[in-house]
Each structure stands twice: as structure tokens, then as C-alpha cells.
Amino acid sequence: MTLKPSDAELVARAKLGDLAAFEALTSRYEQRVYSLAMRMLRQEQDAEDVTQQTFLSALENLNGFRGEASFSTWLLRIAAHAALKVIRKRKGLDTVSLEEATESQDENGAIPHPEYIADWRQSPEELVQRNETRRLLDGALAQLDEKHRLVFLLRDVEGLSVKETAEALGLSEANVKVRLLRARLQLREQLTRTLGNPERRLIPTHNHPH
């Protein structure tokens, strides 16, 4: 039985000039990078461009990768910034720096209260089987501001920790947490409007402190 080489081993070999090791790393992560880009951009051509840019950039900057973060976090960081760049370009804001896109701003407002509260009619297990579920999930995701979407994707879909998500996006952990909470609440709201059982809808009990 042969054990698969770890990312660190492959990175070390690639740094010594082993192309096969770099291609193995690419094969290992290209699907994840592409999926992240698709969920951010919802457009195949743009997702392919971002994926290609990500691995080209990884190739060129491999010697600068010192292994402080895991290779996958490092890669997702490159991909996240490339995807944000495409979004900003689409908005005609390509003169605005990437830092501004990830900088903490307008996160100090009150957390929006849940409005539509109801038990779902089906379990997640049942929903996963349905074809329309993907459209619903991607549609809800698309409604999120890209700053919130990216944090949610890295943390809850890619499974990075809060710390890793913060590293990948150059944010503080506190900021990641706030964005994650907003993203989760907004997605819950969207999904529950479609999946919630209207007969079991509850009226929110807003206990405003003031």
C-alpha cells in the first residue's frame, strides 16, 4: 500500500523543480478552487479564468510560500482574491484596491433579526435529493454581498476554521465572525421563506433592549 504524499511533501518536491509534484497538487485542489469560483461568480468562463490564474500564481510564487498556513488555505486565499477582482471589474470598480473589498466596514450595524420563522417541511436529507435544491441554494447565495458570501463559502462550505478564513482573507477573526453570522442569518431567512411551512410560521418575539 502506498500512502499519498502530504501537501507539504509535494510542495517541497515542487520547490526543488519537480513538475509532477506541482501537477499532483493542482489535481488535488483544482476541483475545490473551481467550485469556489463557480459559487462566487456563477459563470463558467470566469470560474475557469480564476482557477487558471490561481494555479499560475501559485506556480510563480511557490518559493514565497513558507508554510505558515496550510497549502490549501494559501491557495484558497489566492483564489478568493482573484474572484473578488473579477466581481469588482464587473462592477466597474477596478481602480479600487482589494484591501478595500476585504476591509472591515459597515459591520458595526445591528444584526438583522430573523423575520420568517417556521419549521421546514422537509429534512436536509430529503432536500439534497431534489434537483431544485441546488438552484435554491445558489440563488440564496447570490443574494449575499460578496464579502459575506466569501466568508460563508470558506468557512461553511470549504470547512476552513475561523482562524484560517481570517488568514485567507486578511481579516480579523472578529470580523470573520460577524460576517459569518450575517451570512448564515441571511441564508436562513431566504431558505426558510421557500422551505418553511407557512402553517407553522411563528411570530418573532423581538425583545428589543430599548
Binding site: 429534512s123 441546488r134 453570522l181 441564508l187 425583545n207
Partner: protein
Amino acid sequence: MKCEEMLAMLNEYVDGTIDPAICDEFEQHMAGCNPCQVVVDNIRKTITLYKAGQPYELPLKFHERLHGVLREKWKETHKSK
């Protein structure tokens, strides 16, 4: 604990990183607040659904093109050394 405070601790509760003392308060609140109970359940299901989603299939043609581009770039960057 008020609903408002509950909301602020929601991530920590759902991710299981909440302080045990606060966790007790959180659960006491939920036991008496049906809407909050449902919101927590909705949030858990939301995360489960997204986690269970299949990744987008990388087109095979693109896989081949990507590796071709990388090999070219590799040759370029490694001969100059």
C-alpha cells in the same frame, strides 16, 4: 438572556465553541422561546444543506488545458534559473 443576546452568540452555539456557562443560559432561553429554538434549528439545517452540496464538476477539457498551460509556464520559469 434576551433574544437579542442569543442572536449574538448564535455562531458559537452552533459551532460548539460557546463558553459552557453561557451555553446553559442559551439553552434555558431556548427552552422558553419557541421562535429562537426554530431559528437555531433552521440555521443548523441551512449549514448542513450547503455542506452537503456537490462541488461543481471541473470540465475535463479545462483540466487538460490548465495542465498544459502550467507545463508551459513551468518550462519558462525553470529554464531561466
